[in-house]
Symmetry: C2
Subunit: 233 residues, 2 copies
DNA sequence: GAGTGGTCTAGACCACTTT
DNA sequence: AAGTGGTCTAGACCACTCC
């Protein structure tokens, strides 16, 4: 066989999630039913489901069933927002300002984003933590994938929840590139801090279920009271 | 049963690696032999081995066998050194200066490191990339775990290879806490750059096979020509 | 050809959740 | 009690590596 059977089952389930047959939060058929339907044994269906669980595409609970993962503010924060307080706790930032504009993409954005879009939405937001300025985040997404997005302002704290629930676009992984920099004059005014302040700059590419790059994000963090936590294993 | 059988098998294999019965690079018994010896089926032995492979404790290759992972400069770099060039390639730094001293631990180190050591080695090193200063790294390890370490100077580029091969201490995961900062006067002199330069500071805790914190490391990176890459999934 | 890991099956029983 | 995922077994065959 060119492709393992469990891979075929895996792909088929992804397809059904993408096309809406298994909507977010819904229960999938049992291992036996899925196996019977697709003509494989329970063990093979199980292996596909285990793989899907590892990538957090489904959630399984003994005695209950297997469910399509529903992005919530909690799990979205936990997976994609890596700031921790000095005590090691997850930082839950307070929303600050927000601005959404439609504009032409630049060459870099056009090359990186799915569909080489000429038109993008730019979502700029600031956040605070314990009353102090914490960050600015600028997300750039293709307008094609997210029609009417500016009308939804104010946007939720966690964009990826909106992407899944309103646009059936599920971010499953992302890559950050981190550098040190200085705040800069423009941003310093926005956040009300000194322009020479050192900041942590994170450039992110976000990938969805179908492997498409659907968001480019540049985050600027003030790391006086928080740190960006990375686990390597 | 209180503990799954495959977990018992997993723990037993770890034990055998730690006590030297399965030395680094050596081949383990086959799934069948391992199962027979421990009184479980091949499938159960397999599940334990798969778990060990996921955590990179063993490597498996079809037709060859299962081997205790041997830390090499290559895989050590790949797993624990996250700097990438602008083109996205792994950065291979050039060694700079090196200094190893024995000193008393401070309260923080004593509390965090395994065995609450009063005596530690401090390994300070600088690195360059493409001829430019890149980083300073200061590692702190208990003297008890690494006797005679200063005599081994110059140390290899990748400490973790030495830890495994000379001290049977296998680092399997680590956690970095990242912040932005400024270089500072002292370090600026060492590296020959401006003291006000923004830098990326990474504080690391490294854990070995037995779950012990065996190293605290503070790295200071100049991110003019590199970025610290993080994959979230 | 012998030995290894990789895939797949069929069936059993356990642990947990819901009705 | 019924239905789910979790563990475990025994056995088959395939794909790959090495001798």
């Amino acid at each position: 066989m060119s492709q393992p059977l469990y891979q075929v089952v895996y792909d088929e389930i992804i397809k059904r999630i993408v096309d809406g047959r298994y909507p977010p939060g819904n229960m999938l058929p049992s291992e036996f039913d899925l196996g019977a339907e697709l003509g494989v044994s329970q063990g093979t269906a199980r292996k596909a489901l285990t793989e899907l669980e590892k990538r957090k595409i489904v959630e399984r609970r003994q005695g209950r069933g297997t469910f399509v993962t529903l992005r919530t503010p909690e799990n979205s924060m936990f997976h994609f927002f890596r700031l921790r307080s000095p005590e090691g706790e997850q930082v839950v930032p307070e929303p600050g300002t927000e601005k959404v504009v439609r504009r032409q993409s630049n060459k870099n954005e056009r090359g990186a984003l799915f569909g080489n879009p000429r038109s993008v939405f730019e979502i700029s937001r600031t956040r605070n933590f314990r009353g102090e300025p914490l960050s600015q985040e600028v997300s750039v997404v293709p307008t094609d994938l997210f029609p009417g997005l500016p009308d939804r302002a104010p946007l939720p704290n966690t964009l990826y929840v909106l992407f899944q629930q309103a646009y059936s676009c599920v971010i499953i992984w992302a890559e950050d590139s981190l550098r040190a920099g200085v705040m800069g004059k423009e941003l310093a005014e926005d956040l009300g801090v000194d322009a020479s302040k050192p900041v942590l700059v994170a450039e992110r590419k976000s990938y969805d279920l179908q492997g498409r790059v659907v968001e480019l994000r540049t985050s600027t963090f003030i790391t006086d009271n928080v740190s960006y936590s990375v686990r390597m294993d």
